[in-house]
């Protein structure tokens, strides 16, 4: 599904899109052309965005022994590429913002920024589209979504939040201004790691965070899923960020400023 020179775009009634297989998953792009440039220009911008994703994957993947990140972990890397420096800085910011609940350095096997890399990459891919003159765009990084503008006309992008107990259901809809990220173990099994107890665990079945930047939203969602109800204290402290989470018994909890979008519009 790599974007080819001769096209390979999804074309809906209002939106043009593309799905790119990268980082072991699928990144989905959707762009409303109304306020933006022409279709040919979009194709060029998408190729740039996808090239960035593959470059970041080659640098940061822990599944590729030759990546800079893998070599850093094994002590074989002599100088840090600027992308690693930036990711490490974002990890340090996320650790501080979450009172230590997001801690890339405490992960088993050493430094592991996986909990925010997809969000960071998705935000950077969106920034390429917006910078290329497409202000109404959305990048879905395997369930973590960076948005700009809306799907055409007034109104924001409307994003459904997957229900953790049923693939067929949503736990609600959010009209997103910026980013929305969700963390949970219902897709890939237990992988969330508690940096204090140093074991795999999570205290919410699903944790969703909205805010201006997908990198931090992604890390906050991961930290909130691990921390459980106590994690709402760091969400409340961050201006512009809101959260909703569902526990294993199906009960939900929201931050003070969280708003679901009306479902019937």
């Amino acid at each position: 599904m790599t974007l080819r020179a001769d096209g390979d775009l999804r074309a809906g009634e209002h939106l043009v899109g593309h799905d790119e297989v990268v980082m072991g998953t699928v990144f989905s792009f959707d762009v409303a052309l109304g306020r933006g440039g022409a279709r040919g220009e979009l194709h060029v911008a998408l190729r740039h965005a996808c090239a960035l994703l593959h470059r970041l994957d080659a640098l940061l993947s822990l599944w590729k022994p030759e990546s800079a990140m893998s070599r850093y972990r094994s002590g074989a890397l002599e100088s840090l590429p600027c992308e690693l420096t930036e990711v490490f800085e974002r990890c340090a910011q996320a650790k501080a913002a979450t009172d230590g609940w997001f801690d890339a350095e405490a992960m088993p096997g050493g430094m592991d920024p996986t909990g925010l890399v997809k969000g960071w990459a998705g935000q950077r891919a969106l920034d390429i589209l917006v910078g290329a003159g497409f202000p109404d765009a959305m990048v879905n990084a395997a369930g973590d979504v960076a948005t700009s503008g809306g799907p055409g006309g007034p109104g924001r992008w409307r994003i459904g939040i997957q229900h953790p107990g049923s693939r067929a259901h949503l736990l609600g809809v959010a009209a997103v201004d910026g980013a929305i990220a969700t963390s949970g173990c219902y897709e890939r099994g237990p992988h969330l790691y508690d940096p204090f107890e140093r074991r795999l665990t999570s205290r919410f079945a699903s944790a969703t965070v909205t805010g201006p930047d997908l990198t931090l939203a992604d890390a906050l969602a991961t930290a909130l899923a691990v921390a459980g109800p106590t994690g709402f204290s760091f969400v409340e402290r961050l201006a512009g960020y809101e959260a909703v989470a569902m526990a294993a018994d199906g009960t939900t909890r929201q931050s003070s400023g969280w708003r679901f979008a009306p479902v019937d519009v």
């Binding site: 997957q162 693939r167 259901h169």
Partner: protein, 78 residues
């Protein structure tokens, strides 16, 4: 695991059907399924007719994408 079928008319999802349910063993306890599904089946239907452009959820793999709601939305060109 859940087995899900999505029915579409034109570009709208008209039905989401759950074919089977059991206790997945992780977070998906029997009680969450039993409590939430009868309530949420209706909400999910409304959500689809309310025209969402994407789905946020726990990270799927490239294989999992095909079974995800995000994948279903895109196969319909929504």
């Amino acid at each position: 695991m859940l087995s899900v079928s999505v029915t579409a008319s034109g570009s709208k999802i008209t039905a989401v059907t759950i074919a089977s349910l059991d206790d997945g063993g992780n977070f998906r306890s029997q009680s969450i399924d039993q409590q939430s599904i009868p309530i949420l089946e209706q909400e999910a239907m409304q959500a689809q007719s309310a025209n969402i452009q994407g789905v946020s959820g726990a990270s799927y793999t490239s294989a999992g994408f095909q079974q995800s709601l995000q994948g279903a939305l895109q196969s319909l060109g929504l």
